[in-house]
C-alpha cells in the first residue's frame, strides 16, 4: 500500500479520481442522467446549471458522463473478475496436473487465441438479448486466456519448490495445496494481469455499446456516449470529445499502471 502512495503512481490516482467523481457527482448534480431539460437542448458548456452543456435532446452531459463511467467501470471490473476466476481455475488445473491434460488444455487456449472471438461475442449479444449480465459474462469468457497462460506458468514453476513438495509429502490434498500454498504466491502476478485485463474489458464493452449491442437505454455507458457524440458531432463536437477523451484517459492510465505492475512481478 505504501508503494502505491509514491508520486509516480499518478495514473492510478487519476483512475481513483475518475471513480470518485463518477460516484459523487450523481448525488450532487441538479440533473439526473436521463432527465430532459426542455429549455436547454444542445446547450453550450457553462450554461446555467449545465457545466458541460446538454446533448441533442437536452440531457445534462456531466450527469451522463458520470453515469456512463459508472456502468462502464462496473461492467469492466465484473468481467475482469470473471476472467480472473476462469483463468486461474483453468491455468492452475493445467499447470498442477501437467502431462497430457496440460497439453490438451493449453492447446485449447492456443486455438481460442487465434479465433475471431469478438464475432462470437457479437453473435451472443444479438442472440440472447442485450442484458448487462450477458455483456460481462461474454467479455469475461473472452479475456481469460492470457490469465490462464500466466497462471499455468507460475504454477508449473512453483510445483517443484521444496515447500510444495513438503506439503505433498505431508499428505495435504491437492486442493488444499493449491488454495493455501500456490494461490497466495501467484496473487501478485494475477493482480498485475487483472489490472491489464480491465482496460481490455473497457475497450470491448465500449466497442459493443458503440455498435448498439452492449448496454441498452435508458442505461448508458462511455461507449454509448461516444456513439451518440459521433452521431451528433457536426452540431456539438463536445459530445464526442468529452466521453472519448475520458475513455482514452482511463484506458491509458490503466494500461500504464498494469504494465508497471506486470514488469515488477515478472
Amino acid at each position: 500500500m505504501k508503494a502505491l502512495l509514491k508520486r509516480d503512481h499518478w495514473p492510478l490516482w487519476v483512475v481513483f479520481l475518475v471513480i470518485a467523481l463518477a460516484l459523487i457527482l450523481p448525488a450532487v448534480l441538479p440533473w439526473t442522467y436521463d432527465q430532459i431539460d426542455w429549455d436547454a437542448v444542445r446547450a453550450p458548456a457553462f450554461s446555467g446549471s449545465h457545466i458541460f452543456g446538454t446533448d441533442e435532446i437536452g440531457r445534462d452531459r456531466l450527469a451522463r458522463l458520470a453515469a456512463g463511467t459508472r456502468v462502464t467501470l462496473t461492467v469492466a471490473i465484473a468481467a475482469a473478475l470473471v476472467s480472473l476466476v476462469v483463468g486461474i481455475a483453468w491455468g492452475a488445473t493445467a499447470g498442477w496436473i501437467g502431462g497430457k491434460v496440460d497439453e490438451v488444455m493449453m492447446r485449447f487456449v492456443d486455438a481460442l487465441y487465434a479465433l475471431p472471438f469478438m464475432f462470437i461475442v457479437i453473435l451472443l449479444m444479438v442472440i440472447f438479448g442485450r442484458s448487462i449480465l450477458l455483456v460481462f459474462v461474454g467479455i469475461g469468457l473472452v479475456e481469460w486466456l492470457t490469465m490462464a497462460r500466466v497462471v499455468r506458468g507460475q504454477v508449473m514453476a512453483l510445483k517443484q519448490r521444496p515447500f510444495i513438495l513438503a506439503a505433498e509429502a505431508a499428505g495435504s490434498p491437492p486442493l488444499t495445496i493449491i488454495l493455501k500454498h500456490i494461490l497466495p504466491n501467484i496473487a501478485g502476478v494475477a493482480l498485475a494481469y487483472l489490472m491489464l485485463t480491465v482496460p481490455q474489458v473497457v475497450m470491448v464493452e465500449s466497442f459493443l455499446s458503440f455498435l448498439g449491442l452492449g448496454v441498452q437505454e435508458p442505461l448508458t455507458s462511455l461507449g454509448i456516449l461516444v456513439k451518440e457524440g459521433a452521431d451528433d458531432m457536426d452540431m456539438t463536437p463536445l459530445g464526442l470529445m468529452l466521453p472519448g477523451g475520458l475513455l482514452v484517459i482511463l484506458l491509458v492510465c490503466l494500461t500504464i499502471e498494469g504494465e508497471r505492475l506486470r514488469d515488477i512481478y515478472s
Partner: protein, 306 residues
C-alpha cells in the same frame, strides 16, 4: 517448412468446421427469425418462405446441407438482401476490408518497427521515453474514438478528407487506415524496442562490435532480425484485432465492407450472411496465423523444425 504448412492446414479444417457449426447452432438458438418484419406475415407465407429456404428441416440436416454447399464454394442466398447471394455480397465487401486491413498492417509495421528501432538506439534518453509513452497511449486508443475524432478534425473542421463513403481516388482510405493502424503500431513499437534491448546485449552483437563492424550494419543485419521474432508472434492476434477494428471503422466511415454486412446481418438474423462472414473471417485469421508462422521461421531458423 512444408511439413509445418501441411500440419497447419490439417488442423485448420477441423477448426474452421468447429467455428462454422458453433456459429450455426448459436444463431438458431436465438428467438426471432429473418422474416419477422414490422408487420407479421400470414402464417402460410411464413411457412412457404421457411420451406423455400429449407429452414423447416431438422437443424442437423440444415447444418449438413450448409456445410456441403460451402465446400463447393456456395455460401447460399441472403435472406434479407433478397436479390443477392451471400457470395455476391461478400465479393463486394471483401476487397474493401482486405484493402483496409492490409494497408493498416503495413502502416503499423512501418511506424512500429521504425519507432521501436529509434527508441532502442536512444535507449534511456528522453527520445526513448517519449516514444514509449506515445506507444502506450497509442495501444490504448480505441478505433471507435480515433475514427470519429479524425473524421471531426480532418473531415468536418479542416475539410481535407472525405468523412464517409468510398468516393473518388484513394483519399477516403487515409483516415480509416490510420485509425486502424494506430493501436497496432504502438504494440509493435513496444515489442521491437523490448526485442532489440534483449538482443543487443547478446554475445554475437558484442562479437560484431569487437570486430569493428559499423553500428548501422550491426543494428540492421545482426540485431533487428532476431529482435523481430516477438513482433512476428504478435501478428496473429493483431490480424484478429484489425478485423474487429474494421467492423467499427467501416461503420464509422460508412464503408460497405465485410464488417458492416456482419453487423447488419446479425441484427437482421440473416443466417447465411452472418455465417458466410464468420467463415471468411475465421479462414482469413487462420491463413494469417500460418503466414505469421512462416515469417517466424524465416526470422528464427531454430523454429523451422519445431
Amino acid at each position: 517448412m512444408l511439413a509445418l504448412v501441411a500440419r497447419r492446414l490439417m488442423t485448420a479444417v477441423p477448426t474452421l468446421l468447429a467455428i462454422i457449426l458453433a456459429s450455426f447452432f448459436l444463431m438458431r438458438l436465438a428467438p426471432g427469425g429473418p422474416f419477422d418484419g414490422e408487420r407479421p406475415l400470414p402464417p402460410e407465407t411464413q411457412a412457404a418462405l421457411q420451406a423455400a429456404y429449407g429452414l423447416d428441416k431438422p437443424l442437423w440436416e440444415q447444418a449438413w446441407i450448409y456445410v456441403s454447399r460451402l465446400v463447393q464454394g456456395d455460401f447460399g442466398p441472403s435472406l434479407v438482401y433478397r436479390d443477392f447471394t451471400v457470395s455476391e455480397l461478400v465479393a463486394q465487401g471483401l476487397p474493401i476490408s482486405l484493402t483496409l486491413g492490409g494497408l493498416a498492417i503495413i502502416l503499423a509495421l512501418f511506424i512500429g518497427i521504425s519507432a521501436g528501432l529509434f527508441a532502442a538506439v536512444q535507449a534511456g534518453k528522453a527520445a526513448d521515453k517519449a516514444i514509449m509513452m506515445f506507444a502506450t497511449v497509442a495501444t490504448a486508443l480505441p478505433t471507435f474514438v480515433t475514427g470519429p475524432a479524425l473524421a471531426l478534425f480532418f473531415g468536418l473542421w479542416l475539410g481535407l478528407l472525405p468523412v464517409s463513403g468510398t468516393g473518388e481516388g484513394w483519399s477516403w482510405l487515409i483516415m480509416p487506415v490510420v485509425a486502424l493502424a494506430l493501436p497496432v503500431s504502438g504494440a509493435i513499437a513496444k515489442l521491437t524496442r523490448a526485442g532489440l534491448a534483449t538482443v543487443l546485449k547478446q554475445d554475437h552483437i558484442r562479437t560484431a562490435k569487437a570486430r569493428g563492424l559499423p553500428e548501422t550494419k550491426i543494428l540492421f543485419k545482426h540485431g533487428l532480425r532476431p529482435a523481430l521474432v516477438p513482433v512476428a508472434s504478435y501478428l496473429g492476434p493483431a490480424a484478429a484485432g484489425l478485423l474487429t477494428g474494421a467492423v467499427v471503422v467501416e461503420t464509422v466511415f460508412g464503408l460497405p465492407g465485410l464488417g458492416r454486412y456482419f453487423v447488419q446481418g446479425a441484427l437482421n438474423r440473416d443466417y447465411p450472411l452472418v455465417l458466410g462472414v464468420v467463415t471468411l473471417y475465421a479462414a482469413l485469421i487462420i491463413l494469417f496465423n500460418l503466414f505469421a508462422d512462416l515469417i517466424y521461421g524465416w526470422l528464427d531458423p531454430r523454429m523451422r523444425e519445431g
